[in-house]
């Protein structure tokens, strides 16, 4: 009887010791991890700061570039005034620059806005009701076929060698990521572009049942120049 009581006490005490040892080991490990997490957090903050600084700089550079382009254009126009040969070349040059996406362009056109279906999560087959990259490609292709002269997706100029990729709810054009809604701007004859999308059995018919898609004609819209794409930089040199 006395022995049994002793055993019970012993068991209790040893369990407690075991627990204490283990928890202290765990605690020191946890602290080390916390410190590591702290370090990571600091790294994150500093990275974020660097990204912001970098963004500020690139914005400044973009403005500088626009200013330079205007100066160049002025210089070229001055030359064109003096000489008819220069004027002819300037016309060609302006056209080629616009086609190459080297300068921002403006003109009439339409804006197509695509969104995932808000009821997607309620439906049985979610994948049917969200936008896929082939849907974006389909719209871009149709706009091109209808004579769009210049196209951008969420502010990224779409060139002949621009890759369009969807990863989850984001779209990557020219390597630049942006999220829904996908806004596709196209310069061209607004009526022709809109009609092309609205053809029976056309893009709107195919997509409208599944995702939200809207078109709006615009008298004037601007499409930025292609900036920051490594590929074109390489081919040009």
């Amino acid at each position: 009887m006395r022995v049994r009581k002793f055993h019970v006490y012993l068991t209790f005490v040893t369990i407690c010791t075991g627990f204490l040892i283990a928890s202290s080991i765990e605690l020191t490990r946890l602290r080390a991890m916390e410190r590591q997490g702290d370090q990571q957090w600091q790294q994150e903050v500093s990275l974020n700061e660097r990204i912001l600084a970098e963004k500020k700089q690139t914005r400044q550079l973009e403005e500088d570039l626009l200013k330079l382009q205007r100066q160049v254009a002025e210089e070229e126009e001055k030359m064109a005034e003096h000489q008819s040969e220069a004027a002819a070349i300037l016309n060609e040059l302006e056209a080629a620059r616009m086609m190459a996406g080297m300068v921002p362009v403006e003109g009439p056109g339409i804006v197509v806005t695509m969104k995932d279906n808000p009821n997607a999560s309620n439906s049985g087959d979610v994948t049917k009701y969200i936008i896929h990259e082939q849907d974006v490609r389909l719209v871009v292709n149709e706009l091109r076929a209808a004579g769009a002269e210049s196209i951008s997706i969420n502010g990224q100029r779409v060139m002949g060698n621009s890759a369009i990729r969807c990863v989850g709810p984001t779209i990557i054009v020219n390597g630049v990521k942006s999220s829904v809604p996908f806004v596709i701007s196209a310069i061209g004859d607004p009526a022709t572009l809109e009609n092309a999308l609205n053809l029976p059995g056309g893009v709107m018919d195919i997509l409208q049942g599944f995702v939200q898609i809207e078109t709006a004609k615009k008298d004037l819209l601007q499409i930025p120049a292609l900036v920051g794409d490594v590929k074109t930089q390489n081919t040009s040199s």
Partner: protein, 250 residues
């Protein structure tokens, strides 16, 4: 009696210590927070890299225009400045895809799939592998392929000699596919400039063979050290767009 008692005590001690340790570690492991920081850290690093890349490209662009401006300013006579303009025109035309382009790359040939010889072939003595399966290829297959090439770093692409530019559409018209409003017919040959190794492995990874198998096509990938893409020859008239001139005047 006493010795036996000691033994039992020892065993009990050992077992209970083990149980205690197990309990504690189990409790801790359920409370342990998940490690998610490293992933977001990676993402941040990638976006910083992108931003630096963009910065670099902007600097490149700026230096090009600065150089151009300098050349205009220092040209002594009109003929010289016109030749500068012509050079700039050549550069712009190249970027726009209006000139032929050369470099290493790959050629993707999409051919009709033949009925495999053997048990699936015909038994009545007629040569197996001559009868083509129905052509199920549609425009989206080609658009997908072109996009996969571009995703893997292709700099320029041409389909059956039709260079793809910013205004190029690929679409079904009747029973054929049109590129740049020109009708192309099988077999299709897609040429792309870029790093051949990266392009080929990228295409294989994205399942190009399986995709075209569904359309009864076989795919042949060829790496080339030099490849020449023709210039874009389609419609180049511009009616609607014009350069933005007013922006940033404030």
């Amino acid at each position: 009696m006493l010795g036996q008692n000691r033994k039992i005590t020892f065993i009990l001690t050992a077992i209970s210590v083990i149980i205690g340790v197990m309990l504690a570690t189990q409790l801790q492991s359920t409370l342990k927070p998940e490690k998610v920081e490293s992933r977001s850290l990676n993402e941040l690093r990638i976006s910083l890299q992108k931003e630096i890349e963009k910065h670099q490209n902007l600097l490149n662009d700026i230096s090009k225009f600065e150089h151009l401006l300098y050349q205009y300013d220092t040209s002594l006579n009109e003929r010289e400045s016109i030749s500068v303009m012509k050079e700039e025109l050549a550069r712009a035309r190249k970027l726009a895809g209006l000139e032929s382009a050369e470099g290493p790359g790959v050629v993707v040939r999409i051919e009709d799939m033949k009925l495999p010889p053997g048990p699936l072939g015909t038994d009545d003595g007629s040569p197996a592998g001559t009868e083509a399966l129905p052509d199920l290829l549609i425009d989206e297959d080609l658009r997908w392929l072109v996009n996969e090439l571009l995703v893997n770093g292709a700099k320029a692409v041409a389909i059956n000699g039709q260079r793809l530019v910013a205004t190029s559409a690929i679409r079904n018209v009747g029973q054929y596919i049109q590129v740049n409003t020109y009708t192309i017919r099988p077999p299709y040959e897609i040429a792309a400039l870029g790093d051949p190794e990266v392009l080929v492995s990228g295409l294989k990874l994205s399942g190009i063979e399986e995709t075209f198998q569904l359309a009864n096509k076989t795919v042949v990938l060829e790496k080339r050290d030099t490849l020449t893409l023709p210039p874009f020859t389609g419609n180049q008239t511009i009616h609607y767009m014009k350069p933005v001139k007013a922006k940033g005047d404030s």
